[in-house]
């Protein structure tokens, strides 16, 4: 896409996310041609949509569509993907005496007729992949911390899916990378929205005869928030540039941690009003807590990186200039 195509695309996506959410946003994305954009320029398609989605606090089926596409499956609006459990990025199914599943789904899975289930890798590193009827899965619609997100808990008892034809894929690691990039953008978008709310409040709220934005304690909290956001965003950009799995994982960790840092500072600046249900802050906060847990929490990813470094006693190379 050239620069003018990109600008037009960004504008369309912004309008779509400002006006609609859920199924209506899915329809708007189909109209805008998000899937075409995804095959044409994954970086632009993913970064634009997911950062806007985070910023506007809306949901769509785009994560499922993205994963379907990376796994090399035909796009199908009635198809959703079973995601790893909270905190983890491991494929959600494993083979024991039979196939068993423990995972999650987005709201897309509530509406889907079929679901893609990826199995943990075998000895050759490749993963099995099955497409099953959603009626073969045990689904629980989660209310939980963030009912608007539409999370679903997915399980299948050992053996329940053994009849489904099984293929293999070597694309799970790439799917994880793309999901981490998408979710990092969504987290960064949500963190920027929290910063926007806190900044506006700081400029409008008068105490001691002046806007609280004049107080250094407030200014430094907001500065700290911007540093946390830009930290994650820098690694995210580098992950796309270098198309690196390691950087995608690091960006997801920094985006999850950074969004929580942003929430802590912004909530303190918003103070009483930010604690009400009426103010938007809490919606963003609850959303980032969920997003942090999808495809690797900051905590789990950081610990995993540290374990690898301690085991190999080597650092990956410096980023190439």
């Amino acid at each position: 896409m050239d620069q003018s195509d990109i600008e037009l695309f960004e504008r369309s996506i912004r309008q779509a996310t400002e006006r609609s959410s859920g199924e209506a946003l899915d329809a708007a994305l189909a109209e805008v041609g998000w899937l075409d954009a995804l095959s044409l320029d994954p970086h632009v398609a993913v970064s634009t949509l997911f950062s806007q989605q985070g910023s506007a606090h809306v949901t769509s089926s785009a994560l499922d569509w993205l994963l379907t596409s990376v796994l090399g499956l035909e796009h199908d609006p009635a198809l959703a993907v079973v995601l790893p459990s909270l905190g983890s990025w491991d494929a959600p199914a494993q083979v024991g005496t039979g196939i068993s599943v423990r995972g999650l789904g987005t709201a897309a899975l509530r509406r889907a007729e079929r679901a893609v289930v990826v199995l943990k890798p075998g000895d050759d590193g490749s993963c099995g992949v099955l497409t099953v009827e959603t009626t073969d899965l045990q689904l629980r619609s989660v209310e939980g911390m963030d009912p608007d997100f539409g999370l679903v808990e997915v399980a299948a008892a050992s053996g329940a899916l053994d009849h489904a034809p099984r293929e293999t894929t070597d694309r799970w690691a790439t799917a994880v990378m793309m999901a981490q990039l998408a979710l990092s953008h969504e987290l960064v978008g949500a963190a920027r929205a929290m910063l926007r709310l806190a900044r506006e409040h700081a400029l409008e709220r008068i105490q001691f005869g002046q806007p609280i934005a004049g107080f250094q304690a407030v200014r430094h909290r907001l500065a700290e928030t911007l540093v946390a956001i830009e930290t994650a965003d820098s690694v995210l950009a580098a992950a796309w540039d270098d198309s690196s799995r390691d950087l995608a994982a690091t960006s997801k960790a920094l985006a999850g941690r950074g969004a929580k840092t942003a929430a802590r500072h912004c909530q303190q600046v918003l103070a009483g009003i930010g604690f009400t249900a009426e103010h938007h802050f809490h919606r963003y906060y609850k959303r980032i807590l969920i997003l942090d847990q999808l495809f690797g929490s900051a905590r789990a990813l950081t610990e995993n990186l540290g374990r690898e470094l301690l085991a190999t006693r080597r650092l990956p190379q410096l980023l190439a200039l």
């Binding site: 200014r219 905590r299 995993n304």
Partner: protein, 376 residues
């Protein structure tokens, strides 16, 4: 010269000349040894052109992108050939000369840095002027045959090893603040200059107090316009925060490598190691995009305060990690390798103080990047 070719040819040259380039000193060089080594490396690398790429031809350079300089510093640092602090001075002061010195002065002086003939220093801070740089009071008075400088500077890095220095002086009234400052280029062996190295908590006499007592500086040594020295000081920041930070980031990367190779199994937790590695990665990613913007000719500004916060945070986190992983070395070790960890750990405490404190950076971020209006 494109970066890929430069990288390949430089790496090849460094491999072939490893023996000549290698430092004569051990793992804990004195300041004198560090500076002698930087000069030696520059001298050897000048002839084949390595230290000249990335600098304009009118000051003896061979042209090309500043990314070439960034890579040179990276390659030398990764091979443990130079210490970052004396090495990086050129990245800050040569651009100042190129942008502000009379062209013939820049053409005469900058090659001396590229060849490793000289070290320079930068006299900005004063006893009464820390974060509030615009309040400086070291005075330059006009006389018939040039400036006369009187006053005191402090925290002047490497003043005792420097042949020349860039000095900020007060030429307007004290109240004129940043509008009455003039930058001068001073020979550090001028009569009337007294240099007293400061003993710091990390046991390296890198910073100095410098006293100026009726020091004569010719008018031709004025950098930029009279009373416009603030522009010189501000111009320097983008350079400090691009190539120079990249070199320091490379050095931190190298030290984390050493820590991982040295630490006893079980001494460090996975999370703390992972977090430091992520912080360093984040700094590198940020710094690389800053460098790319510099190379593309984009102006760098207040957004580099984020780079400064990131590198200071990463540096302190890295040496906190070292202190967790190597407590016996850092607290009780008296061999050179342990002393090195100790002095680096202690030096890292200053990372949020020098070059604009952490608080000043956050003030800039709040004022300029978040547009929060004036502080009270």
């Amino acid at each position: 010269m494109d970066l890929e070719t430069f990288r390949k040819e430089l790496d090849d040259w460094l491999d072939r000349h490893q023996a000549e380039l290698a430092p004569d000193h051990g793992v804990l060089p004195t300041l004198d040894e560090q500076i002698a080594q930087v000069k030696k490396v520059r001298r050897l690398a000048y002839e084949p052109g390595w230290t000249r790429w990335g600098w304009p031809e009118r000051v003896g350079g061979l042209g090309g992108s500043p990314l070439l300089r960034a890579y040179l510093g990276e390659a030398l640092t990764l091979r443990d050939l130079v210490e970052p602090s004396p090495y990086c001075m050129i990245e800050v002061l040569a651009p100042t000369m190129i942008d502000f010195a009379p062209p013939e002065l820049a053409a005469e002086m900058v090659p001396r840095l590229l060849r490793g003939d000289e070290m320079w220093c930068q006299g900005f801070s004063e006893p009464g002027t820390g974060s509030n740089l615009a309040s400086l009071s070291c005075r330059a008075t006009r006389t018939a045959d040039g400036w006369r400088v009187n006053g005191q500077k402090v925290w002047t890095s490497h003043a005792q090893h420097a042949e020349r220095g860039v000095l900020l002086t007060r030429t307007g009234t004290q109240e004129s603040a940043h509008k009455g400052i003039t930058a001068l280029f001073v020979d550090m062996d001028s009569p009337g200059i007294t240099i007293r190295p400061l003993r710091t908590m990390h046991d390296v006499d890198e910073f100095c107090e410098v006293f100026y007592d009726d020091v004569a500086v010719p008018f031709e040594r004025t950098l930029g316009e009279v009373d416009k020295g603030w522009a010189v000081a501000m111009d320097l920041l983008p350079y400090e925060r691009s190539t120079s930070f990249w070199h320091r980031g490379t050095y931190l990367h190298r030290r984390l490598e050493s820590l991982l190779a040295t630490v006893e199994p079980g001494a460090l937790g996975a999370s703390e190691v992972g977090e430091v590695a992520q912080l360093l990665r984040a700094f590198q990613a940020r710094s690389r995009s800053t460098l790319r913007r510099l190379a593309a000719g984009d102006g760098l500004g207040a957004e580099t305060s984020i780079d400064k916060v990131l590198i200071a945070t990463a540096e302190q986190a890295l040496f906190d990690l070292a202190a967790n992983g190597l407590p016996a070395e850092i607290l009780a070790g008296d061999d050179d390798a342990s002393r090195r960890w100790r002095t680096e750990f202690l030096y890292s405490r200053a990372a949020t103080i020098y070059g604009g404190s952490g608080e000043i950076q956050r003030n800039i971020i709040a004022r300029r990047l978040l547009d929060l209006g004036p502080d009270r």
